[in-house]
Amino acid sequence: MTTAKTLFDKVWEAHCVQPESDDFPAILYIDLHLLHEVTSPQAFAELERRNLTVHSTKNCLATIDHSTPTSAPNALGERDYVTAQAKNQVDTFLENCKKHNIECHAWDSEQRGIVHVMGPEIGATQPGKTIVCGDSHTSTHGAFGALAFGIGTTEVGHVLATQCLLQRKAKSMRINIEGELQKSVTAKDVILHVIATIGVNGGTGYVLEYAGSAVRAMDMEARMTMCNMSIECGARAGMIAPDEITFEYLKGRPHSPQGEDWDKAIKQWSQLPTDEEAVFDKEVYIDASVISPTITYGTHPGMAFAIDASIPATTDESDISSLEYMQFAQGESILGKAIDLVFIGSCTNSRISDLRHAAAVMQGKQVQVRTLVVAGSELIKLQAEKEGLDEIFKAAGAEWREPGCSMCLGMNGDIGNPGDLVVSTSNRNFIGRQGKDVRTILASPLVAASCAISGTVSDPRTQEQAA
C-alpha cells in the first residue's frame, strides 16, 4: 500500500463529506459555486418549488456573461439584447441573486466578466478548492490546483440547497509535456496538440493533471488556457499543481486571503502538489519542442493539426462528413484559404496576454475581414485600454466590443452568416455553434490575428518574415 497521493487525490479526499462506496457515490463538499444566467433559472425555480433556501450564500459567486450583448449601451444605458427572452433571462437571474443574497457582478460592477475569467481575476479561484459551475469550461479553474468541473442545472440546484454534490471519483491521467516551446507557439497550440494526440474522447472518465517543464514555465493565463480545454477531450477536469507562479498571481487580489491568512494559505497550498511516488491510472508524454502553431480542420477539437500540415487521409465516416461540412478535402493544406470572420475572445483566450499577442500582430496593419475582439472581463477591457490596445485594434479596423461570451457560443446574437469560415480563439468548432452552417477553425490569438491581417488562413511564422 502506498500513501503517495496525486494533487487530485488530495483535493478530493479533503472534500469528502462522505466517501464513496460500491452502492453510494461520494458526497463532495463544494467551496465555490459560480453562477450565470443560462443554467441556473430552473434550479432556482426548483428550490422555490420545494421551499428550500440557499445553504451557503458565501460560497456562491455570480455574473452575467452568456446571453449579454457585446454592443455598447445606448445613451440611456440600455443594452441591445438579442431577444426579449434573453433580457428576461438576465433579469430573472439578477432577481434570483438578489433574493438569495448572492454576490453578483452585473452591469454595474467593474468585476463583471466571463465567469471563468472573473473567478481567477478577483482571487476567488484558489488552490485546493472544489469549484463547480453550470458550464463545462469550469475546468479552467484547475490551473490553480483546484478541482473544478462543470455540472448540469439539477446539480446546480443540489449545490444551492446543500453545498454538496453526489460524485463518483474519476480516474487520473497525467499529461507530461517536456521541453521548450517554439517561437509563435502558445498554450492554445499545446492544448489543441494534446487533444489531437489523445483524441476527442481520450480523456473521458479521467481528471487530467498537466505536468512537465513546458507547463511549469507557463504563466497563469497560459495555464488557464490549457485547463479550459480539458473538457474538449472528454475529461472531467484538468489540474496543474500550484507553485510560486500561482501564488504570485493570487497575491493581493480582492478575494485572496490577506495578512496572516495568506501565510497560512501558502503553507497549505504548498502541500498540494502530487507526491513523487504517486501512481496515475494513465501517463501520456508529449514533446513540447515539436509542437507547431496548431489549428483545427474539422468539427470537433480533436481534429487539429500543425497549421502547415495536410489534412490526413481518413476512412472514418464521421471524419468524412465533418470534412464535407467544412468544405475541406483530405490531403489538402488549408493555408491560404479565404476566411470571412475572425473572433478573438472567450474564456479560452480573452485575457490580457491574449489581447497583447493579437495587438502585436495587428499593430499598424489592416484587417481584411470582419474581426471581433472581445475582452473576457471589464477589468481586462480597462487594462487593454490603459495600454492602448483598443486603439491598435480599432486602427486596424477590428471591432472592440463589450466583455462577454459573444461568438464563443453565439447565444447573444454574435454569430457568423451561413457558410462563413471563421477563425476563432474559442474552444469549440462544433457544427452550428457559431451560427447555422458556420465553419469554425480554432486557433491561438496569434494565429487568429495573422489570419485577420491576411484575410486567409495564415501561419504567424511566415507572416512575420514577410512583414
Partner: protein, 189 residues
C-alpha cells in the same frame, strides 16, 4: 424510466460525436423553464435556413409512442453541460439513449432526469445500425437489455443510479437527508 420493464423500438441517428450544440442549439437556451424544449431538439437537422421543416428530415416520421429509444454513435452528448440536452430529448419523447460511449456530464444529466443512458458495445451497435426499429426490452433494476433478434446484454450502471432510476428516487431528497453530516463537515473545516 419507472419500476418495471421498459420496452420500445429503436430510432436510429447513428453518427459519432453528436454534441450538445447539435442536440439543442444555443438560441434555445434563453428559456427560464424546462418545458417545451422539443421545439429546439436537433433543430438544424429538422428545419432549414428559413425555419421551415425540411422535407426529408430524419425525425419526419418519428413517433415517440413507437420508438422511444434513440440510438446514436460513439461519444454522444459531448460538449456543453447544458441540461437542456436531456430535457429536449425527454420532451421529444425519448426515454432511453443508446451509445457506445457517453460524454461524462451528459450521462450524469440524463440519469438525474430519468433518461437512461444505455451503453452497449460496438457489435451490438452495428446490429442496431443494420436493423432499425428493433425492439429492446430493458430491465433497469437488473441492468439487462434484450435486443430482439440479437442477444440479451448487460449494461453498466452504478448501484445508486440504478436505484434512483428504477424507483424514481430523487437525489436532492437524499442529499437533504444528509444535512447533519454536511453541517458537521462545515464545523470541522
Amino acid at each position: 424510466m419507472s419500476n418495471n420493464i421498459f420496452s420500445s423500438k429503436t430510432f436510429n441517428l447513428i453518427t459519432d460525436n453528436i454534441d450538445t450544440d447539435q442536440i439543442i442549439p444555443a438560441q434555445f437556451l434563453t428559456t427560464t423553464t424546462r418545458e417545451g424544449l422539443a421545439a429546439g431538439a436537433f433543430f438544424n437537422l429538422r428545419f432549414d435556413d428559413e425555419g421551415n421543416e425540411r422535407e426529408d428530415h430524419v425525425f419526419k416520421n418519428f413517433d415517440a409512442k413507437e420508438t422511444a429509444i434513440l440510438v446514436c454513435g460513439n461519444n454522444f452528448g459531448c460538449g456543453s453541460s447544458r441540461e437542456h440536452a436531456p430535457w429536449s430529448l425527454l420532451d421529444l419523447g425519448f426515454k432511453v439513449v443508446v451509445s457506445t460511449q457517453f460524454a461524462d456530464i451528459f450521462r450524469n444529466n440524463s440519469i438525474k432526469n430519468g433518461l437512461l443512458p444505455l451503453e452497449i458495445d460496438k457489435s451490438a451497435l452495428d446490429y442496431l445500425e443494420a436493423n432499425p426499429n428493433t425492439q429492446l426490452t430493458i430491465d433497469v433494476a437488473n441492468t439487462k437489455c434484450e435486443i430482439h433478434g440479437y442477444d440479451s446484454i448487460d449494461f453498466p450502471l452504478d448501484e445508486f443510479s440504478k436505484y434512483c432510476l428504477s424507483n424514481n428516487y430523487d437525489q436532492l431528497d437524499y442529499l437533504m437527508s444528509q444535512k447533519n453530516k454536511i453541517s458537521a463537515y462545515e464545523q470541522r473545516a
